[in-house]
C-alpha cells in the first residue's frame, strides 16, 4: 500500500459502503505525486465546502482548438503537483465497445503521461483522461495518434458524437447507429477539432424512440430511429405473454393513442394511429417488433439550461432514410445548411436551439430550405400577432 502524504479523514468516510468508491480509485494511483496532491486538495474542499480548481489559460495541441481543457489549482503553492491538472477528451469508439488489448493500450499511454485517473466516460461520450501537466500534452497526443486514437471536441465546435448500442445488440435499432456515428465523426473531423461555431454542437444517435443516449435532451441534433409501416406482431407469442401480462391494463390502457385492441385472442393495432412510443414493444419484446420500413426522425435544438433555459429538441424531419450506402448525404446536407446559417448569424455562446427561438422557427426553416409541416408543432399558433409577407396575396397556380 502506498503511503499517503496527507491525512484525508473526510474522504476516507467515502471508502466505506457497498457502492464502488471513487476515493479507492484515486488511491489506487497514489504512487504518483500528482495524485497525492489531488487527494490533499479534494480533502481541503471537503473541509471548506468549496472547489479549489480554477479555469485558466487555454491549452491544447498544435493545430487543434479543442480536446484539452485547462485546469489549474488555486492552491498551487501548497499542492504544487496539481498546479496544472488538465482534462483530455479522447474520442471513444462507437457504442463504447472495446477489446481488452485496446483498453490496455489506452492505460499504458495514460500511465506514461498523466495521473492514471479517468472517467469512463464523460457525459458527451468521450474517454476522459483527468489530470496532466501542460508539458505532457503534445507527447500524450503523439502516443495516442500513433496507436490510432484521436482527441474529441471541446469549446465551440462539433462535440464528439455518440450513439446507443444499436444493431450491435438491440433488436429495436431502426438504423445502424454505430455506422452513422462513425461516418459523421470521420466526415466532420475539421469541425470537431477546430472551433468555428458560435457555440457547441452535439450529435447523438439513438436507434429507436427509447432514446438510450438521451439524444432529445442532450444534443443539438438528435437522430432517432423510427419506422413508418406496421408493428410486426407474432400473435402466438402475444397469447403466451397473456398468461402473465394483463394485456388490457398494461398494454392497451398505456398506449398513448389507444390504438391497440385485445379481445383475449388477437392483438389488433391501428398502425395509422401508432405514434411509435415503444411502450407495447418494450413490454412484449418477444411478440412485437418495430416495422420493416425503417429510418430516423431528425430533431434539432436540445440543450441544458445555460444560457437561455433548457430546451428539448423539436422535430425537423419526421422520417429520413438512413441507408449506410447513401453515406448519410441527406443528414449531412441538412447539417451543413444549419451550420452555415447559425455560423453566420448566431451570437457568441448561442446554441442553435436558442438561435431558432430568437430568429423564429419559420424564418429559420425558410433560410435552410425546409418547408413548414404540421408535424413540427404540437398545435398551430393561438395568438394573432402574425407578420404577413407579400406572398400571402399571391394566388396559387
Amino acid at each position: 500500500m502506498t503511503e499517503m502524504k496527507y491525512k484525508t479523514p473526510l474522504l476516507d468516510e467515502l471508502e466505506k459502503g457497498p457502492w464502488p468508491s471513487f476515493v479507492k480509485e484515486i488511491k489506487k494511483e497514489a504512487h504518483r505525486p500528482m495524485v497525492q496532491d489531488v487527494l490533499g486538495q479534494v480533502e481541503r474542499s471537503y473541509e471548506e465546502h468549496i472547489s479549489h480548481w480554477k479555469h485558466g489559460g487555454l491549452v491544447g495541441v498544435m493545430g487543434y482548438g479543442g480536446g484539452v481543457i485547462g485546469r489549474y489549482s488555486d492552491l498551487a503553492h501548497e499542492f504544487t503537483n496539481v498546479a496544472e491538472f488538465h482534462t483530455h477528451r479522447v474520442n471513444q469508439p462507437s457504442a463504447w465497445f472495446y477489446t481488452s488489448d485496446a483498453l490496455r493500450t489506452l492505460c499504458d499511454i495514460w500511465d506514461r503521461h498523466g495521473s492514471g485517473l479517468t472517467n469512463m466516460h464523460g457525459s458527451t461520450g468521450d474517454i476522459v483522461f483527468l489530470g496532466s501537466t501542460t508539458q505532457a500534452i503534445e507527447p500524450l497526443f503523439k502516443d495516442l495518434t500513433a496507436a490510432g486514437w484521436d482527441l474529441g471536441g471541446s469549446g465551440s465546435n462539433m462535440r464528439t458524437p455518440s450513439c446507443c448500442v444499436g444493431p450491435a445488440r438491440c433488436e429495436w435499432a431502426c438504423y445502424d447507429t454505430l455506422d452513422a456515428c462513425y461516418n459523421i465523426t470521420q466526415n466532420f473531423q475539421d469541425e470537431l477539432h477546430r472551433p468555428f461555431f458560435p457555440y457547441k454542437w452535439k450529435f447523438k444517435f439513438a436507434g429507436c424512440p427509447n432514446d438510450c443516449v438521451a439524444s432529445i435532451a442532450r444534443s443539438d441534433c438528435s437522430v432517432m430511429g423510427t419506422w413508418r409501416d406496421e408493428i410486426q406482431v407474432n400473435q402466438a407469442k402475444v397469447l403466451e405473454y397473456a398468461k402473465t401480462v394483463d394485456i388490457e391494463n398494461e398494454i392497451c390502457d398505456f398506449c398513448p393513442t389507444r390504438c391497440i385492441e385485445w379481445d383475449g385472442k388477437t392483438l389488433e393495432i391501428d398502425n395509422s394511429n401508432c405514434v411509435k412510443c415503444m411502450h407495447c414493444i418494450n413490454v412484449l419484446p418477444k411478440a412485437l417488433k418495430p416495422g420493416k420500413d425503417r429510418g430516423a426522425t431528425i430533431l434539432i435544438g436540445g440543450k441544458a439550461p445555460i444560457v437561455g433555459g433548457a430546451l428539448l429538441c423539436s422535430v425537423f424531419v419526421p422520417f429520413l432514410e438512413m441507408d449506410p450506402d447513401s453515406d448519410y448525404e441527406d443528414l449531412k446536407e441538412l447539417t451543413e445548411a444549419i451550420w452555415d446559417l447559425w455560423g453566420e448569424h448566431g451570437k457568441m455562446r448561442e446554441r442553435v436551439g436558442e438561435f431558432i427561438q430568437r430568429v423564429g422557427m419559420s424564418n429559420f426553416l425558410e433560410e435552410i430550405g425546409l418547408d413548414p409541416i404540421p408535424e413540427m408543432v404540437m398545435a398551430p399558433r393561438s395568438n394573432p400577432y402574425i407578420f404577413f409577407d407579400d406572398e400571402i396575396f399571391e394566388t396559387e397556380e
Partner: protein, 357 residues
C-alpha cells in the same frame, strides 16, 4: 518534428472491437430477455446468443481498475466488453456457463451487478470538487453516498418502472440532468463576489459583460480601476461569468448547496419526454456524506415505489395524482421558490378549475 505528426484520424473503427457473435448477428437480433438482475441474453435470428453482465462503476476509474476489467474480459469473454451511457460496464459472453464465475469475480473486486429493467441504474454525474472550478457541491461524494443506500434498487427490479437518477454540480449541467426521474443539482444562491484587484489583470471586460445571460453585469469604475459591477437582483447564479473570468467568484462555501428535481424523462414511451420539476429548492452542503440529500432521495423513491402503478415513471405518476398530492405524500414543503418566475413562467400556472379536493 511536424512531418511525423498524425492528426484528424478520428476514433478507431468500432468494428474491430465487436465480439465475433455480434459481428455475425449484427442487425439480426430477434429478442432479448432479462434472466436475472444485471444479466440479459440477446437471441439472434440464427439462434446464436450473447449474454450481458452489467456492473456499476463510480465512473472515475483508475487505470489499475480498467486493467482488471481487461483481465476479467480475457478470462470470461474472449477479451470483449463495453461501457454504457450511464457509465456501467458490460461484459459480453457467448458462454452461459461462465456467468456465475464472472459475477463472483467482479463482485469480489467491489463492483455490484445490476442496473437492468425496473431498477435504479447508475447515477450519471459530473466532476464536482474533484475536477471542476464552478462546482457548487461535490459530485462523486454525493453520488457515492446516495448509491450506497439505493443499492438494493440497483440489484433488484422491484420498482414500478425504470428510475433514472442524475447529478450535476452546477447549472451548466454537464450531465444534462434536466430530464431525469430524480435530478440532484448543485446550486449557487448568491451573486458572484468580484475581486477588483485581479479583474483588470485577468479578464477582458467586454467578454465578461457579454457572458451574462441576464445582462446583470455592466462596466464600472471601482476605486479608480476599470472593473464591473453586478446587479444582484438580475443574477440567477449561473456562473457563466466565472467561467470566462476567474476574478468573478461564484463559489461560496456558506451559501452553495443542493436542490432536488423530479419527474423528468427522455424516452418517448407512453408519454412525451419531460423536464424535471423542482421538489426541494435548497439543502446545505454536508460532506462527506450529505445525509439530508440521501434521506430526501430515499423518501421520494419510497413514496413513488408505494404509490405508482406498474409501468408508470415518476413524472407519469405525478401527472396522474397531481402535484398537490405529491407534496402531501412526500411531506416536502411547497414554497415560493416552486413557482416559476423566469421566461414563459405563466405556462406553469393552473389555468383551469379542474382540481382534486
Amino acid at each position: 518534428m511536424a512531418e511525423d505528426r498524425i492528426t484528424d484520424i478520428g476514433p478507431p473503427n468500432y468494428e474491430q472491437f465487436l465480439p465475433p457473435v455480434i459481428k455475425k448477428n449484427y442487425g439480426k437480433w430477434d429478442y432479448h430477455e432479462i434472466l436475472r438482475p444485471g444479466v440479459m441474453v440477446h437471441v439472434a435470428e440464427s439462434g446464436d446468443k450473447v449474454f450481458t453482465v452489467r456492473c456499476g462503476s463510480p465512473r472515475l476509474l483508475a487505470v489499475t481498475t480498467i486493467r482488471k476489467f481487461a483481465d476479467i474480459a480475457d478470462k470470461y469473454c474472449d477479451g470483449h466488453l463495453r461501457f454504457t451511457s450511464r457509465n456501467n460496464v458490460e461484459f459480453l459472453l457467448s458462454d452461459e456457463s461462465k456467468i456465475d464465475a464472472l459475477i463472483a469475480e467482479v463482485e469480489e473486486y467491489g463492483f455490484p451487478v445490476g442496473g437492468m429493467g425496473n431498477s435504479i441504474s447508475n447515477i450519471v454525474h459530473t466532476q464536482g470538487w474533484v475536477h471542476c472550478h464552478s462546482a457548487a457541491s461535490d459530485a462523486s461524494g454525493v453520488v457515492k453516498s446516495v448509491m450506497d443506500e439505493l443499492l438494493p434498487h440497483f440489484q433488484n427490479m422491484d420498482l414500478p418502472a425504470k428510475l433514472r437518477v442524475a447529478y450535476a454540480c452546477c447549472l451548466n449541467m454537464c450531465g444534462a440532468v434536466h430530464c431525469s426521474d430524480i435530478a440532484i443539482l448543485g446550486v449557487h444562491t448568491r451573486a458572484p463576489v468580484i475581486d477588483h484587484g485581479d479583474l483588470p489583470k485577468m479578464c477582458e471586460i467586454p467578454t465578461l459583460v457579454a457572458s451574462c445571460p441576464t445582462g446583470a453585469i455592466r462596466p464600472a469604475t471601482v476605486d479608480g480601476v476599470n472593473s464591473v459591477e453586478i446587479i444582484e437582483e438580475q443574477c440567477m447564479y449561473c456562473g457563466n461569468c466565472y467561467t470566462v473570468c476567474p476574478a468573478v467568484k461564484i463559489n461560496n462555501a456558506q451559501t452553495d448547496g443542493i436542490s432536488i428535481w423530479v419527474g423528468g424523462k427522455v424516452s418517448n414511451s407512453r408519454v412525451a419526454p419531460k423536464f424535471s420539476k423542482l421538489a426541494i429548492p435548497f439543502i446545505p452542503n454536508n460532506p462527506p456524506r450529505w445525509p439530508e440529500v440521501v434521506e430526501a432521495v430515499i423518501n421520494i423513491v419510497n413514496v413513488y415505489a408505494e404509490n405508482a402503478r406498474k409501468h408508470e415513471r415518476m413524472g407519469e405518476w405525478i401527472d396522474r395524482i397531481g402535484w398537490p398530492k405529491f407534496f402531501e405524500l412526500t411531506g416536502i414543503k411547497f414554497t415560493k421558490y416552486h413557482i416559476d418566475d423566469f421566461k414563459h413562467a405563466g405556462e406553469t400556472y393552473t389555468r383551469t378549475a379542474q382540481l382534486r379536493h
